[in-house]
Structures are given as C-alpha cells and as structure tokens.
C-alpha cells in the first residue's frame, strides 16, 4: 500500500489536472447545451490554441498565461464568425449532417496543423515549467497549479456571464426553449454565435493552460475531443458545474487508479467509473433528470 502522502499528492495532482480538463469540456457543454450541436472539432480547436501559445512564446516571448487573454478574444471572435457565417446553416438539419460537418472540420484543422507545424512535438519551456511548490511532504507542479487557477477563474467568469448578464440569460432561454425564444423576439442566430464564440474562447484558455504541461503535436485533437465528451456526459449535458466536476472526477480517478492499482489501469478505471455513474444517474452528475 503506498504511503498516504503519496496518495494525497496524486489526488491533488488529479484535481488540478481535472480542473483544466473541466474547462476544456465546458466549451463543448455550452455549445451542445444551447445549440444542440456536437462539436467534433473541439479537440482540434484546443490543439490550435496550444500552437498559438507556442508561437507566441517562441516569437514574442509571451508566457502562455498572458497569451490566453488575447487567444480567448481571437478564438471567441472566430468562433462567432464560424457559427454565424457557416455552421448556423446546419442547425436544424439532420444530426448526421451536422456530425459529418464537424468531423470534416476536425480533419481539415488537424491536417492544416500537420502541414503548418510538422509532426515534431513542440514545447513551451517556461521558467517555472520544472518547478514545484513544496507543501509539507507534497510537491505540487507549479505549471499545473497556475493552469488550474486559470481554469477556475475562466469558469467563474463564464458562470457569472450566464447568470448575471442579459445576454447570458437570453442564451439560457434559448437553451431551455428555442421556439419560445424566437417567438419572444430574441436574436437566436446571434445568441447561438455568441455561445459558440464563448465555447471557442474557453477551449482557447484551456489550450493555453495545458501547453506548459504537455508537448504539442498535431494529432492531439481526437483524444481531447473524446475526453471532453466523456466529461460532458459524466457531468451532465448542458451543466457547467457538471463539466468542471466531471473533469475533476476523471482527473482524480485516473491519478488514484495509477497509484493504488497500476498506471496502465488509469483509463480503464476512469471509463469504468463513467459507466457506473451513468447506470446510476443516466443524466450525469449534475444534469437535469428527464421527465
């Protein structure tokens, strides 16, 4: 049996990583919850954001946590334009049409990244990349702590937007009742585009937060898309708190499985947990139960 400090260290590390995962999944949850569009290009958008952070670091010596502010704004605008100008035409079309569109977008993005950056792994060697905070017997990776902090701030801002602003409330109204929203005169197409923009912005923040932790390659996208889906389903479709909680559950379960069983069992345990939770709560941890 490993030492308690070792288990605690792994658990805390899992919480920190899971928080960033949660932010990544948040964008997907918001997009699906409002627009009812499954964004299969989610992971590729995150990979693109990571490359933006790499380029900004290599070209302008900008720390990823500084880049994320600009990246969020740019991705938000691009996401708005993409949804308003293109994806919106597919809202209301059969699901397989939407699915193929987003998968095609994912493949175009992934291959464009491969063409543009090549297959070699890229890294952002920040000054704190290999440093750790020491808390008694525990060592907390500095980059991971900063990433989790950024994820918490971004999530809080997003939550505040949806709860406290008129636009946020209007978006929630669209999510609850799109027909009613149209009848009430809400600009639904604009609100959908804002939602996609916010989703893209949050994935940009998540990408910039992840880049000091892992090396970037063009092929990261599909893995992150799958992970985001798992977290969204686990946390409950359309629930922001659920997405964050789902991310933490995945992060912690992987970490503890690795320490208590074997590292090879990480994915097996986290996916097994997903199945168990869905059996007990099909709507996810924080999703609304179906009537």
């Amino acid at each position: 049996m490993p030492a308690l400090s070792h288990v605690a260290n792994a658990a805390v590390s899992g919480v920190l990583t899971g928080t960033v995962y949660g932010l990544m999944a948040l964008g997907l949850s918001a997009i699906f919850g409002v627009i009812r569009l499954v964004n299969f290009a989610h992971g590729e958008l995150m990979t693109l954001a990571m490359y933006v952070a790499v380029v900004a670091f290599q070209g302008l010596a900008l720390d990823p946590f500084v880049t994320m502010i600009g990246a969020a704004a740019v991705f938000g605008a691009l996401g708005y334009a993409l949804q308003r100008g293109f994806i919106n035409r597919f809202v209301g079309r059969p699901e397989h049409s939407q699915m193929l569109l987003m998968i095609a977008l994912a493949m175009i993005l992934g291959n464009a990244l491969l063409l543009g950056f090549g297959p070699d792994a890229r890294n952002v060697p920040t000054s704190y990349q290999l440093d750790s905070f020491e808390l008694g017997p525990m060592l907390l990776d500095k980059a991971r702590v900063y990433a989790a902090g950024a994820a918490v701030i971004a999530t809080s801002l997003l939550a505040a937007f949806f709860r406290l602003t008129l636009t946020g409330k209007a978006i929630r109204a669209c999510a609850d009742n799109p027909i009613g929203a149209r009848v009430a005169g809400l600009p639904v197409a604009h609100l959908y585009a804002v939602t996609f923009g916010l989703g893209a912005a949050s994935v940009a923040v998540a990408g910039c937060a992840m880049v000091p932790l892992i090396d970037v390659t063009p092929g990261l996208g599909p893995g992150y898309t799958l992970l985001a889906f798992v977290i969204v389903i686990l946390g409950g479709l359309g629930s922001m708190v659920g997405a964050l909680l789902g991310g933490v559950v995945i992060g912690v379960s992987e970490a503890l499985a690795g320490v208590l069983i074997t590292p090879s069992a990480k994915s097996m345990v986290s996916f097994g947990l997903l199945v168990l939770i869905l059996l007990a709560r099909p709507q996810g941890l924080m999703g609304a139960a179906r009537r």
């Binding site: 490993p2 030492a3 070792h6 260290n9 792994a10 590390s13 990583t17 491969l114 297959p119 070699d120 792994a121 890294n123 060697p125 990349q129 290999l130 440093d131 750790s132 060592l139 990776d141 932790l213 892992i214 090396d215 092929g219 990261l220 992987e254 970490a255 690795g258 320490v259 074997t262 590292p263 090879s264 990480k266």
Partner: protein, 408 residues
Amino acid sequence: MGSVTRRQFGVAAAGTLALSALPRPLRAEAAKLKVGLLLPRSGLQALIGQSCQKGADVAPELLRQRLGVDVELMNADTESNVDTARSRAERLIEQGAHVLVGAFDSGHTSAIAQVAEQRGVPFIVNIAAAPQITEQGYKFVFRNFPPAPEIGRNGLVLLGDIFREAKVEPKTAVFMHVNDTFGQSMAKGVAALLPKVSLPFKLLDTIPYDPAAKDLTVEVSKAKATNAELLLLVCRLNDAIVLRREMVKQRWSPMGVVSPGSPGLYEEQFSKGLGKYADYCITNTVWFNPKNEITHAFAAAFKKRFPKDEFAFHAINASYTFDALLIAADACKRAKTTDRKALADAIRQTNIPATDRVTFGGPIKFNAKGQVEGDASMVIQNLKGKPTVVLPKEYSEGKLVFPMPKVG
C-alpha cells in the same frame, strides 16, 4: 575482303548466345539496385525515422565509391502505423524494388516481413528488436540488429561494468518500460536475465506505461515512491522527455537513469529539449564503432551532407541504416544481379569483416534464421549535451559520471 571461317562464325555465335543468356547486369550497362526503404518519417516515431533516413541519404554515394554498386533509394513513409507499413511495402514491391530495408519499429517490421516473405523479396531489417522477427522460419528476412533479449543481456552485463568503474553499487532499482511490442520484449528479457546476471541491486517494482502518454505524473510518482536507488528505463523518445521532465518536477534523483538498450535518452531532441537535465543519463546500447575507417568515412560524408547535424545524435539510426544498405549492395556486387531470389541467396552468404562495418560488433554473417549474432553494446552517457562513449575504456570518448548529480 577476308572471309569468315566456320570456326570463327561458330565462336562468335556461341559468344552471342552466351551473352544473351546471362542476367542483364553483366552487360555493359550497369543496373541500379532499387532499394525500397520503409521508415516512420511522420507520426509518433517521426524524429527517429528521419534520423534513419539521413543515414540512408548518405549511403548511395559512399557505396558507389567503395563497392561500385549503384543504389537507388525508393523511400516510403510508414507514418508510424503498421497498416501503412504493410501497404507501402506492397506498393514498393509493385514498383520494382529489388530489396526492402526498414523499418525501425518492431510491429511495422513484422508486418513488412510477412509481405516480403510472401512475395519472395529480400528484406533487410535495419533496426527492430523483437525476437520473433527472425523466429518465423522466413527465408527472405535478414536482420543485422540484435534481438531485444540480446540487447537487454548486453545492457545488463554492462551495468556491472558501470558499477565497477564507478566503484559504487546501488542496492535497489525500479524498472519502467514502454508498453508496446519492443518494450514488452525488453521487459520479458530483463525479467528472465536479471536473476542470471550477477548485479548487486534488488528490483523493487516494474512499471509499464503508454509510450503515447502526454502525462506521466502518476507513473513517475509510483516509481519515486519505491525509493529505489536506480532507475532502469526502456523508453522511446517523446516519452523519455516527458518522463525525465516529470522526474525533475518531482525532485526525484536516483543514482542513475540507465537504459539497458532502448532509444530515447541519446537522441538529439532529448538533449535539446531538456538541456542540462538530459546530462548523465546512460544508455547501454549498440553504437557505431569509433575506430573503423569506414565509420570515419561515413561520419565525414554525413557531416558534409548535413552540416547542421551532430553525427553522434544519429549514431544508431544512421549507422544501422547505412549498414543495412551496405549488406544489400555487397550482396548485389557478389551476386552480379538484381534478381530478388539471387540477392536473397547472396545475402545469406554475407561475410563483411568487423572492420568493414560502421556499427560495433563482429563480422556481419547471417545464421540459419537470418540473424547476425555477436553485436555488442557500449555504455553511452550524455555529457555536455552529447551522447559520449564512456565504456569499454578502449573506445571511450569521455569519463563516466556515476552517480549522477542530484536535481532540484
């Protein structure tokens, strides 16, 4: 005008008949030896595949000068994918490759070997360590690279040499390895050999991990928790970087990070990506022979073609790929033909002296299974950002540092 006698006519006719019956290359125009080269130039193993390719790119000119054989490379990218490797091999054969060379990855190599055997095309393995590649009874598959158990055995024996040279003996060790075909072969080899080789440490745990994992926090944490004095590591390149970085973050400083024979620690990207933290990591592995004249010629040609590359970073990949092409060209020279079956027969009779190969070992001679025996390993330590031979002493380029300085 003089007349032609019946005797003269008969001799001329016999000569013409004899010439037309002989294979093409004996005629005035020399045929090119088409070598289908299969390497992972993109995907997970791209960096290593590209390193092998550089060794191949230098080979044709050097082989023409030394053997008088004209080699034409037909390059194919396996994309670090086994299905792609198989289909590219078939395509190269359709396109007329006389011999195949490749493919670095054991899984890909096994797939290509099946195709080569079915199609009767000689396949010279440059680098691939899974023992089963030359245990299938194939007649057209040849390998000048030691199988994983042999690398592991040589690597473990050299551990004893390290401890004797440094006059320090770790009491405990933890073994981490990639969980792919190569890693599992090496793991089985180490598990079987460790009790037979007299080493002073006790193995506390064996931790497999996914070579594609982006985060090895849990794995390194588990290894650190054993409090082992030595880390034995079988790795690839990208995971080696992730793992070493994680060791620094977790302030884990064992006496040494030693690979009993795997890629990763001696690669350029490892040193460039980690800077000072790459130093003092050790790999006991096959290497080039720094004393052979052909090695100097190859290194000079490599430097001329790739002036920005440090040859030492491409030592294994480029050298073994070159030697595979050397074997092909040597066979072609002796067979005097590019006929695939004749080439395979000639390869079986290969006997290249130890002094005439770039890689370190005995003569290149294939046994009945198509395997060269007796390739030896050296102790390679990263010193000042460069992989350096430290043992055996008669070949050393630098002084062994063990235990390694602590980090953090």
